[in-house]
């Protein structure tokens, strides 16, 4: 992985075990003329988790998914899905993968069930028997015999998930699965993703709904301008992010002087009720009791000390904007 990425618990020496990763890419690049849509991507998606693939519009999220699934070819790099190197063994890998790419579109003149039947015939024989349960699982049983032309966007999104499920996939790749869903639908989709992961499947989803990703996923990769700039478990990534500390105390100016002398490495600003401290990424959490100790020993009355960790959204904005600024 690149130097800006956070490793998973498994070290890079364990990558040799192909089956460990649901998705593994090295140096994956896809160009459209002079534009590099996927830029030397190193991606490791662990098995059995919900993995978010995040990035601003035009960052190359969908293009990467299309390359992985063989919908378009890569210009360079290697990749494997469920341990199978692709494109050499793409058919074997795709036999265990379900995917929604872009907006889910189907034959409008066919019913939802007929569309799934068409797809099931292209899969293994058992797929046909999974149509009913899949429709039931996504809540479309009652509308399965309606023509898809009459479906709402949310219903087509659900049908897309059902189309994934008829293959009984080990890996689901969902491109913006929350798009077009109402709040209740988003809630149901979130529950379904959690339940799929609980069954031992891997779900890789791209989304710009960062709050939803934070609630749903165990790990994420952040992509910007085609390049993966961070990846790892969300908790580790956020722990490594910069954070703020709010302090309510007496004598704010004196308190600020005490902390500046402590050289905590962050910016300390005094205000009417106390202090606002910005601590850089990687600051140890043990700095908090140290701050409290210094203030109390300095004769400051400490009324409140609160740690404000970054949300995924604010962290996402930090890392993507920082990259932009550095470039």
């Amino acid at each position: 992985m690149g130097m800006n990425t956070t490793t998973f618990h498994a070290g890079s020496d364990q990558r040799a075990n192909d089956a460990q990763w649901a998705v593994e890419t090295h140096g994956l690049t896809k160009k459209f003329g002079p534009n590099i849509a996927v830029n030397d991507v190193e991606l490791l998606v662990p098995r059995g988790c919900a993995f978010g693939y995040l990035g601003p519009n035009g960052a190359g999220k969908t293009t990467l998914i299309r390359v992985l699934l063989g919908l378009t070819h890569a210009d360079s790099g290697t990749m494997s899905l469920l341990g199978y190197p692709v494109p050499r063994h793409r058919d074997r890998a795709l036999a265990r993968i379900g995917a929604i790419v872009d907006e889910p579109r189907f034959h409008g003149h066919l019913t939802g069930r007929e569309n799934l039947e068409l797809l099931a015939t292209a899969r293994e024989d058992a797929a046909r028997g999974r149509i009913g349960p899949s429709l039931e699982r996504v809540g479309l049983s009652g509308r399965a015999n309606d023509r898809v032309a009459k479906y709402s966007m949310g219903m087509r999104q659900r049908l897309g998930v059902a189309a994934c499920l008829i293959g009984d996939p080990q890996l689901l790749i969902l491109d913006e699965p929350m798009n077009g869903l109402d709040p209740a639908g988003i809630h149901e989709m979130r529950d379904m993703i959690v339940s799929l992961v609980a069954e031992g499947r891997t779900v890789m989803l791209s989304s710009h709904l960062l709050d939803e990703v934070q609630r749903t996923c165990d790990a994420v990769a952040i992509v910007d301008r085609g390049k993966v700039i961070r990846q790892g478990p969300i908790s580790e990534l956020l722990a490594a992010a910069s954070f703020a500390v709010e302090i309510e105390c007496s004598e704010p100016e004196q308190a600020r002087s005490l902390l500046q002398a402590l050289a905590i490495g962050g910016e300390v600003e005094a205000n009417r009720s106390g202090l606002a401290i910005s601590l850089p990424a990687g600051t140890d959490r043990d700095i908090l009791p140290e701050i409290a100790r210094v203030l109390v020993e300095g004769g400051i009355s400490l009324y409140r000390l609160q740690e404000n960790r970054a949300s995924l959204e604010s962290w996402f904005l930090q890392v993507t904007s920082r990259l932009g600024a550095s470039e």
């Binding site: 089956a19 098995r47 059995g48 299309r66 699934l69 919908l71 378009t72 070819h73 469920l82 341990g83 199978y84 793409r90 058919d91 074997r92 890998a93 795709l94 036999a95 265990r96 379900g98 995917a99 790419v101 872009d102 907006e103 889910p104 579109r105 189907f106 034959h107 409008g108 003149h109 066919l110 007929e114 569309n115 039947e117 068409l118 797809l119 015939t121 292209a122 899969r123 293994e124 024989d125 058992a126 028997g129 999974r130 349960p133 899949s134 699982r137 996504v138 189309a163 293959g167 009984d168 080990q170 149901e188 989709m189 529950d191 379904m192 339940s195 609980a198 069954e199 031992g200 499947r201």
Partner: protein
């Protein structure tokens, strides 16, 4: 939405082992029967397309024949029988041949492009199924539709043309019994000598008729007046009118009528009140061949350009404009290129006795005997057709295998 699939929750493990539990052959280029059946159903459920196909292949001939049946039933003296040989040739070589090709091409272009334009192609690719198999599944599925529709339309035409055929043959305006042998026609001509002499066309060599023959011809009174005969060539100048203006004997008249009947027999023997079984079988196969070509080429073209409308327009231009021009025009240095036009090749394979409208074709004596068509041997025609079928299939399959989904 939190219920589990009936198939149970697969536990993570070695992917090879998991896939090994349920082996399939999705990498095979050969489509399964289920894929073909599903594709057939998908095409069949396109209501607008199916209505158009049925209207053209079955509706137009049926409406035309029903109107003729009604008109003949209401006013038989004003309107001839609905069926018969001439109606048959018009409907088969005109309507079913040309429009059958166009609707087959429309179906082919639809089958070749619609998954892509409707966003279904990527769903199919993600199944891991061979793209070649996805392409090949469309061929039997589409052919099952177009071949059966053309067969139904053709059967309607054959049925009406046979069962509602005229009772007698109208030969040069004279009602003549059908299927007479040469001796039978001689006998009939002998007993209808005046009608034969006054109405039958005939051709006499450059030496001209004998004086006796010319005398009889000139002196048989015809209601259509002198010159009412259809004499196609009558010897050297001066041969006519050289006989005396005397009414010939019945024996002389009969002899001349028999002579004319003999001269016309080869033409008469190719006239039918209704098409023969052999002609109907050959015509049916020929029309189906044209429909198959239209579908396969349309499928390849639709897949190649990823659009239905443009593909259909190109196919119509090929059939209605380019083929008639290139089949008949004599363009120096380009004749071999013209021979590569599939419409010319199929016109040359037209059954004997079936005139081909529009696209050129046979006329009496069959396709290759038509002097209007650019000459082409049957072998070349067959090779051209095979090349078109194989070439467009390869192009369409190649595009489907390499296209970004």
């Amino acid at each position: 939405m939190t219920r589990t699939l009936e198939s149970g929750a697969p536990s993570p493990g070695s992917p090879a082992a998991m896939i090994g539990e349920r082996p399939d052959h999705r990498g095979s280029p050969i489509p399964t029967f289920g894929m073909i059946a599903a594709r057939f159903k998908e095409l069949r459920k396109r209501r607008g397309l199916m209505v158009a196909l049925v209207l053209v292949t079955i509706g137009i001939p049926t409406v035309f024949l029903v109107v003729r049946l009604i008109l003949h039933a209401v006013a038989p003296n004003s309107y001839g029988p609905a069926g018969g040989y001439s109606v048959y040739t018009g409907l088969t070589s005109g309507v079913l041949y040309t429009f059958g090709f166009i609707v087959a091409a429309t179906l082919g272009c639809t089958a070749g492009s619609i998954d892509f334009t409707e966003g279904m192609f990527r769903h199919l690719v993600v199944t891991g199924r061979s793209r070649l198999a996805l392409y090949l599944a469309r061929i039997p599925a589409g052919l099952a539709i177009i071949v059966s529709l053309v067969a139904i339309g053709f059967t309607v035409v054959c049925a009406v043309c046979v069962f509602a055929a005229p009772k007698a043959l109208n030969y040069d305006g004279v009602q003549v019994p059908v299927g007479l042998s040469q001796r039978g026609l001689d006998s009939w001509a002998s007993s209808h000598a005046d009608e034969v002499i006054c109405n039958f066309g005939f051709r006499i060599g450059p030496s001209g008729p004998s004086a006796a023959f010319a005398s009889v011809i000139q002196n048989v009174p015809c209601n259509n007046g002198p010159g009412g005969r259809h004499v196609k060539a009558f010897g050297p100048p001066g041969a006519q009118g050289s006989g005396a203006s005397v009414r010939p004997t019945n024996t002389q008249v009969s002899a001349v009528a028999v002579t004319i009947a003999n001269l016309d027999y080869s033409d008469y023997s190719r006239q039918f009140t209704y098409p023969s079984d052999s002609l109907m079988v050959k015509t049916g196969l020929w029309i189906e061949l044209e429909a198959v070509i239209g579908f396969i080429v349309g499928l390849g073209l639709g897949s190649l350009i990823g659009q239905r409308t443009v593909g259909v327009i190109l196919m119509i231009v090929l059939e209605v404009i380019l083929t008639p021009i290139l089949s008949r025009a004599r363009i120096p240095h380009l004749s071999n290129l013209q021979r590569a036009v599939v419409g010319l090749a199929t016109a040359h394979l037209a059954p004997s006795g079936l005139p081909v409208l529009g696209g050129g074709g046979g006329g009496p004596g069959g396709g290759s005997g038509n002097p209007g068509l650019l000459p082409e041997s049957t072998t070349v025609a067959v090779l051209v057709i095979i090349a078109w079928l194989v070439g467009w299939s390869i192009l369409g399959a190649w595009r489907m295998m390499t296209r970004d989904a």
